[in-house]
Amino acid sequence: MKTTRRITQILFLVLFLILILKTTYPLNFKHTHLFLSMSSLLALTQMLSVRSYVHSFELAIIIAIGTIFLGRFFCGWVCPFGTTLDITDRLFKKKKNIEKKTQKKLISIKYILLIFLLVLATLGIQIAGWFDPICISVRSYGLVVYTYFNFLAEKTFLILGRLSIVGGVADKFYNFAKENFLAYTQPVFSGSILIFLFFIGILFLGIFLRRFWCRNLCPLGALFGFLSLKPLVLKRYVSDTCDSCSLCESKCKMGAITEEGKTEITGECILCFDCVQKCPKGAIDYKFTNHNYKLPKFDTVDISKRSFVFSLGAGLISVPFFEVNFLKNKVNNIIHPPGSVSYEQFFAKCVRCGECMKVCPTNYIHPALFEKGVAGMWTPNLNARLGYCEYNCALCGEVCPSGAIQKLSIEEKKKTVIGIAYFCKSRCITWIGYDNCTVCEEMCPVPEKAIVLRKEHIIDPAGKKRILLRPYVIEELCIGCGICETKCPVEGASAIKIIGLKYQKKIA
């Protein structure tokens, strides 16, 4: 059973990683957000924050119902983050479980976090994605780990290609890798170091306890734990042959077993079946029906009235903390991906997973830090100096699991205005009056050209008469794709800038 579980875990992790790899142009597989749509936490918080049923989370509902009957199978068998932790925990010295009382206190943290997130979601602030393990996985693997290894591989191939002996072979391998795994261009994500630190920090909690995150902190785990307070069908049984050796209690990676193996803390078992395997007497088994075994006693999770009230209160009093901040889009330039819902709704809908950032072929979409306020952290923010919106592409809406970015057809997308370009005439080569440039006009993908050139007779700073082609933006045609800002040949900041629209509109 343990082997089956391990194989399943690896298969799900591999599937997850393949989906991350495939979250890229040309997006042959449309369901790259499969794992995200399994997260019951996202489903619940999402529905609370938008106050209506959200269709994309059917799978999460099925898993939640499954959990009521079977227990936390998702954590032990499916969750890619759990599997990651199972792997990385092996890097650290094996730890014995700590004292039961402390353990039970730690366990309750995740319930407190869950309540906190639910309260905030109800009040329209959807930050569950910061702590949802699937979101953490997508963000960390997609934006950090992949980016890191891509860089490493590119450099390795570059060095190998220069060596005359292996150069030819390396080039062949490189072409193969480029077509199948490597990014077309090295992706960069502004502020991704924070995502990395969050990820590595959780991994290093393994120093203290195995699956520290899953047992103590994970709010999705807490939700599943709540649903499986007493699993209805699949149960752990202990037979009379148990001689109370406590081996299972000390080895359980969730710390779910207490009282020398006789008792189980409700909602903590993730069905890894390690105890079945390890029991020297063969006394433990998981059965759908009862026979000759004793159902263990259940030890309830200890959430004090005080901590429950505390988490509720913390949720309530922190709302102004999220809402009252000066960094909103009057101060900062916020551009959202094409098809995004209105600025306010976006915060309630976006789950901060990073799928759109991973898929964007030109690296236009970046994780926001505090540009949109505290609650906006890791929502998409577009940086037109680094990338632009490909005219014939609408992949971000395709991969978005939450509907924050709506699916658009290419024709609809071409008419969607996400921002408008403005010239910074004190920097523009043509406007300061020395030379022609016209790169912005050249690149503008709008068939009628949203940037037009006018022949103007000027006198340059040296007093010489010149005829220059000066660019102007036609506001009614500009869709804010940003290619002009990306390609502007001026050093440093661009001489043409996209200003994002709070409410995206369509060109008539």
Binding site: N175, Y434, L469
Partner: protein, 309 residues
């Protein structure tokens, strides 16, 4: 009549010489056919074909130029450099016609080329442009090596007589080949007025190319001066006459039904400009290029052959 049996060796030679003279006089082109060898002096510098079929026209032009084997020897590495800069379909006429590329690849492979490389440093995402233009599909099908440029393979090249710059990163593979075939598409461009062969070479230049537009004419001549171009194939089948170089509206596309191939890159661009309705004097780079010896700017001094296919 003399008795045939009495023909002396001397008479035989005399008669043969006379017959040959008659044959020679009858038509120069026939001599070529009879002796199966091409006479250098009769091969034009530029061949322009009028045809509703761009692929077929390309092949006909190559034939008029003496066949691809004149340029491509056995085991040669050939680079075909189309314009694949933008994510547009062939009928939008912002990228080189895939039929022209297909015909060239076939000709090169038939002439015994070892590899035929097809690439361009694009403006839009290359994965999109290669696909949408139809060029990657035909190239792959015919067995050409079509690949995205590798940013690590641009290296600085010194430009001895450079006016705009003294050195610029150029793609290694474009310089390390045996035969380089430049395949631009004729289209409108705001600052260069019209883009053709000279400007198409920007696709092998690395770095911040955008800055070239400050001094587009000198820049493209500087680059051309350090790159060998054996053949320039100007695709003027569909021509984007407005809103170039990206286009997108079919209303801006005009059918010219013309393929121009030449061994003199300056002359081809002058010819192309004329087709587009612009005189060479409006394009400063033509004069500059001919001054540095890249080709002939005066079409009257160039042998041009027009064919209908």
């Amino acid at each position: 009549m003399e008795n045939l049996s009495e023909i002396s060796r001397r008479k035989f030679i005399r008669n043969m010489a006379a017959g040959s003279l008659v044959l020679l006089a009858s038509k120069a082109i026939k001599v070529k056919e009879v002796f199966g060898k091409s006479d250098i002096s009769t091969i034009p510098t530029i061949v322009a074909a009028n045809s509703p079929n761009p692929g077929f026209a390309t092949k006909a032009c190559i034939k008029e130029l003496g066949g691809m084997s004149k340029f491509v020897k056995k085991n040669d590495v050939v680079v075909i450099k189309p314009n694949i800069a933008f994510d547009r379909r062939p009928e939008q006429a912002a990228t080189t016609n895939p039929d022209v590329i297909a015909a060239l690849i076939q000709e090169c492979l038939n002439a015994g080329a070892k590899t035929v490389k097809v690439f361009d440093r694009t403006c839009n995402d290359a994965r999109r442009t290669y696909e949408t233009s139809g060029i990657s599909k035909v190239s792959r099908k015919l067995g050409a090596d079509v690949h995205y440029v590798n940013e690590g393979k641009f290296h600085d090249v010194k430009i001895p007589g450079g006016v705009a710059f003294k050195s610029w990163p150029v793609y290694d593979e474009a310089r390390e080949c045996d035969v380089f075939i430049n395949v631009p598409i004729l289209k409108q461009h705001a600052v260069a007025k019209v883009t053709m062969g000279f400007k198409n070479l920007m696709g092998i230049a690395g770095g911040n190319r955008g800055i070239w537009h400050r001094n587009i004419n000198n820049s493209i001549v500087d680059l051309n001066s350090v790159v060998k171009v054996h053949l320039t194939v100007l695709d003027a089948y569909r021509v984007l006459i407005n809103h170039g170089p990206t286009g997108g509206r079919l209303e801006d596309v005009k059918l010219f039904n013309k393929i121009v191939i030449g061994t003199d890159r300056v002359a081809v661009d002058v010819y192309g400009a004329k087709l587009f309705g612009i005189s060479a004097s409006e394009l400063p780079f033509i004069k500059q290029a001919s001054e540095v010896g890249l080709g002939e700017a005066n079409l009257e001094k160039v042998s041009i052959k027009e064919i209908n296919v």
